[in-house]
């Protein structure tokens, strides 16, 4: 490696080897090659602390929560509620009642789409999203718009994978009830100017939901400072268990919304003639939740806090710059998403080679990237491409792994051309 590359490696803000040692899966071999995991945008691997916390809970502390006076139920309830408090502080929510546990981002968006729709949407109203949204921030709105006769409007993306605030402004109208927008694009890496978008939405009298699925483990989020009305993210993309997530909402707004799912835990009293609903946050947590997952999620949050978001972001930026630089030297490469403000996602195509073919060859080399539309089909349609290859980085990725990717790609190009 040349000295320029060494400079970059030396400036990594924390000891990556120490971090890697906490992730057992990073020791496995795939197709007889050491695993190079570059599909963190889809989901991240789990550190020992998360695995062990979940294991310990099942082995020593398990029972249902919020229901029993017995010791185990109390322990479980305490641990579960501790996660809520940890997240309340992490995103600076005003009260724990504003933190609703969900199955993930998709579940959080659906919760708001259906309940907000029931409460506020009328014929002719508008919901405004962007052209870079994940399908889970498109389809729920399409469904509720159809139910209530509302109209879904879309801010188009620009060639470099950003959205223009000017165009955004022109699409805000007196009929715009709610804006739903991603903070960071999962297929392009674009970091949107979310604070401006939130302020413009409010000036227009619209509510706003922020999809923070790709942002929660990258950027410090202070919901009071942002002043967003709703914010959603998944546990599994922030080194936590699958089937966990958080929906933040301003207390007054959540209070005003009707419940989403009905069942146990979300009620105060059930009578056949009239049922009353529980207070926040339980009103939105029907049924037995993913208790072990939520408890494991607390360990994931502690893991992130211990490393520190500024350090994580600096590491991510170094990987991103190095990856752009190295891959940029491959003949015929085209990058999708070239915003100045960008997180560790590199989407690309090489010549006319189909992304699927590249994915198959890299898989044989032990390199896991994602190929296809990444659940953002409208983005692919915008660029008129079938999909892209996407490398996305996590805390444990190294510059050496970018080199493995670069060499793997060169080999793939040679084989496929």
């Amino acid at each position: 490696m040349n000295s320029a590359n060494n400079d970059i490696i030396q400036s990594i803000p924390f000891d990556v080897d120490k971090i890697r040692a906490q992730f057992p899966i990073l020791n496995i071999q795939v197709n007889n090659k050491p695993l190079v995991y570059l599909d963190n945008g889809a989901s991240t691997q789990k550190p020992n602390s998360v695995i062990e916390t979940t294991n310990f809970y099942y082995s020593n502390q398990y029972s249902n929560i919020h229901r029993g006076v017995h010791k185990l139920s109390q322990i479980g309830t305490d641990l579960y509620e501790k996660t809520r408090l940890n997240f309340q502080h992490f995103i600076n929510a005003t009260t724990p009642s504003e933190i609703i546990f969900t199955k993930g981002t998709t579940h959080g968006i659906n919760t708001i789409a259906y309940t907000y729709g029931r409460k506020y949407l009328q014929k002719g109203d508008e919901i405004l999203i962007s052209g870079m949204e994940h399908h889970s921030n498109i389809v729920p709105w399409q469904i509720v718009c159809e139910i209530y006769g509302a109209i879904l409007k879309v801010v188009p993306i620009e060639q470099n994978g950003t959205i223009s605030l000017e165009k955004f402004k022109t699409l805000l109208s007196p009929k715009t009830k709610l804006v739903a927008m991603t903070y960071i694009s999962n297929s392009l890496g674009t970091i949107n100017p979310i604070k401006e978008i939130i302020d413009l939405s409010h000036q227009n009298g619209s509510h706003i939901l922020v999809d923070a699925a790709q942002a929660i483990h990258h950027l410090p989020i202070d919901v009071q400072e942002l002043d967003c009305d709703f914010l959603v993210f998944s546990g599994h993309k922030m080194y936590g268990p699958t089937g966990t997530g958080i929906l933040y909402g301003k207390e007054a707004l959540l209070d005003a919304l009707p419940p989403f799912e009905g069942g146990g835990d979300m009620i105060k009293e059930v009578r056949f003639d009239k049922t009353t609903f529980n207070d926040l946050p339980f009103k939105f947590e029907a049924g037995t939740p993913n208790i072990a997952g939520i408890i494991g999620l607390n360990a994931a949050l502690d893991f992130i806090k211990e490393i520190g978001l500024p350090q994580i972001m600096a590491h991510d930026k170094q990987l991103l710059d190095y990856c752009h630089q190295q891959l940029g030297e491959i003949d015929g490469i085209r990058f999708f998403g070239t915003s100045q403000e960008k997180a560790g996602v590199v989407s690309f195509l090489i010549n006319e080679i189909h992304p699927y073919d590249i994915g198959v060859i890299l898989d044989n080399l032990g390199i896991a990237i994602r190929t296809g539309h990444h659940c953002t089909q409208p983005v692919m349609d915008f660029y008129n491409i079938p999909g892209t290859c996407r490398a996305s980085f996590g805390i444990y990725n190294t510059m050496e792994e970018i080199d493995v990717l670069t060499n793997g790609l060169k080999r793939a190009v040679k084989m496929l051309s």
Binding site: H354, Y356, V360, I361, T371, G372, G387, L416
Partner: protein, 143 residues
């Protein structure tokens, strides 16, 4: 004319020479490059088998008791694999195709390409080829 199983065994024989994954893929990619593309005019919605990632086109022709297939894909590895599948199944009777047991993919260590998570349209293509077999079997009985 060789039977379906004889052709499968021939392909398995070809692959025995390759110990390395890269050699196997070179072979498949070459198959893909050699496969005659389906002309644009026939790449219509009716002939497309939608995989999530790579698209596959399949055309069946029935002549003198035999079914012939023509296939194509926008991904070269998928194209090589559909080329192998058409080589195995083309030119046989609908009954032989409908009742065929495709074992060669597994024997040459490429069964992962038939996994639904690969989303490459291959599994759907095999199903479609057998469906054509069944459909023409029924037609033959009616004549």
């Amino acid at each position: 004319m060789k039977t379906i199983d004889e052709i499968q065994n021939e392909i398995i024989g070809d692959f025995e020479m390759y110990s390395d994954w890269a050699d196997k893929y070179e072979y498949i990619i070459d198959m893909g490059k050699e496969l005659k593309p389906i002309s644009g005019a026939l790449k219509i919605e009716d002939n497309i088998i939608k995989g999530c990632q790579s698209r596959v086109w399949l055309i069946a022709d029935y002549e003198n008791g035999k079914l012939n297939f023509q296939a194509d894909s926008d991904a070269i590895i998928t194209k090589g694999l559909v080329g192998m599948l058409t080589k195995v199944l083309s030119g046989h009777s609908p009954k032989e195709i409908a009742e065929s047991n495709l074992f060669f993919m597994e024997k040459i260590g490429l069964q992962e390409h038939l996994s639904p998570t690969r989303a490459n349209g291959l599994l759907a293509m095999i199903k479609q080829m057998k469906t054509y077999g069944l459909a023409y079997m029924t037609k033959e009985k009616m004549i």
